[in-house]
């Protein structure tokens, strides 16, 4: 019985350490690859998906790819404040897509639509990571 308890404690400690490690990676790891992926999705996937599922919307199908290109430009320029700005714009567009899908009643129609929420969360996480990096560099 004691051995089982010890084993359970050991497994719990290991799991806690792994979860902590994941939390730290999520908060502090490099976000450039995520930014590039999100920007590429904003340029390619976003206008096609919203046009096919929501119909023509100039805000989403014209401005979003421009925002995606701006994000790519900022990532390639390695400027932190520019990346923060661009990431906030990207996050706003993904949130807008989630809101639009919700308004049209599509968001909870099928699990594949929840991807917009995932993209919003991912872009927000990326935005927070860049801001943290900026503050860390400022404070030393």
């Amino acid at each position: 019985m004691n051995r089982l308890k010890l084993k359970a404690q050991e497994i719990k400690a290991k799991l806690t350490a792994r979860i902590d490690s994941l939390r730290i990676i999520w908060q502090y790891s490099d976000s450039q690859p995520t930014e590039i992926t999100l920007a590429a999705a904003l340029v390619i996937l976003y206008p096609i998906a919203t046009y096919l599922e929501l119909g023509y919307s100039p805000i989403m199908q014209v401005l979003a790819p421009i925002a995606g290109l701006y994000q790519l430009y900022c990532v390639s320029g390695r400027c932190l404040s520019c990346r923060v700005r661009a990431s906030w714009v990207t996050f706003s567009f993904y949130l807008l897509a989630a809101v639009m899908y919700l308004y049209c009643g599509l968001l909870f129609k099928g699990p594949s639509y929840w991807g917009w929420i995932l993209l919003s969360v991912s872009s927000f996480g990326s935005l927070k990571r860049i801001k943290k990096e900026e503050l860390h560099r400022k404070n030393g």
């Binding site: 989403m60 809101v99 927000f124 935005l127």
Partner: protein, 96 residues
């Protein structure tokens, strides 16, 4: 969806995301400030900074000591030469 609805939703979302971001940013700033304050009062960090300063001072002192040692070695070499020269002169004078 008509254009007006799209614009209204876009503006509302934009304001919402700006609000969310302002809140998150403020929280991040406060956390960063707290961490900075914590570090400035943390004994380990202070001890590390103190050690770093001492290492720098000792490095400086070591370089100065090396320089002085070199100068002294040169002086000793010069004095040894002079000494041997003078001994030889004394020997010559003694013979005469």
């Amino acid at each position: 969806m008509d254009n007006n609805t799209q614009i209204i939703l876009a503006v509302v979302t934009l304001l919402g995301s700006a609000g969310i971001w302002k809140y998150a940013e403020a929280r991040l700033r406060v956390k960063a400030e707290l961490r900075k304050e914590e570090q400035s009062t943390n004994d380990t960090v202070l001890y590390r900074d103190d050690l770093r300063n001492r290492v720098e001072e000792m490095d400086k002192a070591l370089k100065e000591a090396h320089k002085e040692l070199l100068e002294l070695t040169q002086k000793v070499a010069k004095l040894e030469t002079e000494n041997s020269f003078l001994r030889r002169e004394i020997d010559i004078l003694k013979r005469n």
